[in-house]
Symmetry: C2
Subunit: 338 residues, 2 copies
Amino acid sequence: MGVSLKDVALRAGVSIKTVSNVVNDYPHVTPAMRARVQQAIDELGYRPNLTARHLRKGRTGIIALAVPELGNPYFAELAGAVIDAAARHDYTVLLDHTAGVREKEMLVCQGFRAQVIDGLILSPIELETEDLLGRTDTAPLVLLGEREYDAPYDHIAIDNVAAARSAVRHLAGMGRQRIAFLGARRESARQPAHLRLQGWREELSAAGLPHDGSLVATAAGYGRADGAQAMADLLDRDSRPDAVFAYNDLQAIGAMRVLTERGLRVPEDIAVVGFDDIEESRYGATTLTTVSPDKQAIARQAVDCVVQRLAGAPTAEPRRVRPGHDLVVRESTLGRRR
Amino acid sequence: MGVSLKDVALRAGVSIKTVSNVVNDYPHVTPAMRARVQQAIDELGYRPNLTARHLRKGRTGIIALAVPELGNPYFAELAGAVIDAAARHDYTVLLDHTAGVREKEMLVCQGFRAQVIDGLILSPIELETEDLLGRTDTAPLVLLGEREYDAPYDHIAIDNVAAARSAVRHLAGMGRQRIAFLGARRESARQPAHLRLQGWREELSAAGLPHDGSLVATAAGYGRADGAQAMADLLDRDSRPDAVFAYNDLQAIGAMRVLTERGLRVPEDIAVVGFDDIEESRYGATTLTTVSPDKQAIARQAVDCVVQRLAGAPTAEPRRVRPGHDLVVRESTLGRRR
């Protein structure tokens, strides 16, 4: 508090202009001078007024984060992590939801608020590669999530195939024979769920277990109600699964509700695995085994990509970043310890 | 698509300037002229470029919504409703989270992003009346939630006392004798939970049931873990409650998890009522009876307040708006129909 540029200059024995050059990351400051000023900054606990700094550079200090649904806790938790990561760079976050609608995703991409934001982090659902190739807005864009694009933008996503395989391997390892995939999208193979479905198929194939269409339940969306409907659909078929791998936790939770209503026990009758590790998955009457993507790393790396592109190198090669994931094993596959 | 101001002017038989005056709500347009232009607008399906309109008025078209926690689904659901309500006025929403920390709430109030936002909707936790009275930023501010302030700002909140009483009345009406309040704040009577605690006390008093401190469990926060800890605290006391009214759904869900772990049945051993009606409350193994605030109305009225203050009358009397609420009765008090 109360430490000024001038205080730093006095302590370092340099001009205010030199301190300003260091604080603003301007070039033509020698490494020795930079170190000397930085030492004075550290000793005094100087915090530059970064908002003013943004404005001097013709920036607003705002990054937009566009997600399909704020009502999905995965995106709410991810947004919280992005807000924290952005704050560390003195950026604030403009949060937008696209409802997963292609037109809204295109609108966001094409910079309809270009005067307000410095960069954009987008988790697309329906957006097509051609939409990205037609983008004219020059603000840095970072893509999140499972959808793959052949377009020159940084993309951050966990290895969805490997993550899905780990979930299915766990179920197969516990002796389950008929492992269903719940939550495939109805439309095309290019939609999300494609990679998780692929991982499910590969792992079952490796284990010599069935992976035909009788074990795949589609869903119209990504919510609890969609999972409930897909589970009801599976249960109404001739041959019942003994395990379910759901596209996400919300669908898994909807599915478990239907199992409860039908008087089936989790995991004794049907084991369930989700994907996302939202907090809710740890608090049901039966806690949920789930794939846990490293949300903190996803958020940090997304913000880092935006900040680095703003700092220079906007034309550098697009990066493919793969944050980690874990399988968190809980009662929906292990049963409850009594 | 593709209908211009000029097309409207041609259809209405007036000048482009007149159409512009109508579209921008400028005064000195006669009602007859306004009706004539509006008819042409309706017939042609003209959609004014409202973003440009905002900019011409020196506005950004952005309303900030500051909530304590995005990770709390109540606020995520409310934010979704605010985004939809704002979109109807061609406003986009800058979403911010304050973590319920007074300093962050003050920062948001005092317009640290005044150049970016036209108005602010804030759901405060720790903010004090004096903080509001010291506010110098002139952007319209609308307050949400239970906390009461003697300050000249519009305030939108359901009747928390009446809502709490309806929950307790329901439990008492089902013959429960020891109805606990779970989730009171530890610090002061001015914190949220005050009004809900008051409603609990009033209704129990009216019903001739006990409402002493042995039936109140405090919590450090508003999450599932806080509810779990408060429930464990209640169960470790000499005399167990036969019903729990929780400050919110997340705490109720945390409480129900502890009951499950202790081998107690909901509602047979202990009935549970929450507050918020988040979607999660409908999907547990035991669905949750809860107070349902009208989130759509809260969002719509908050946005209307901001828009009306921007349109004029910034000095009009502050409004107190009371959206409705319902008690939604589910398995956590009724039991499961089998």
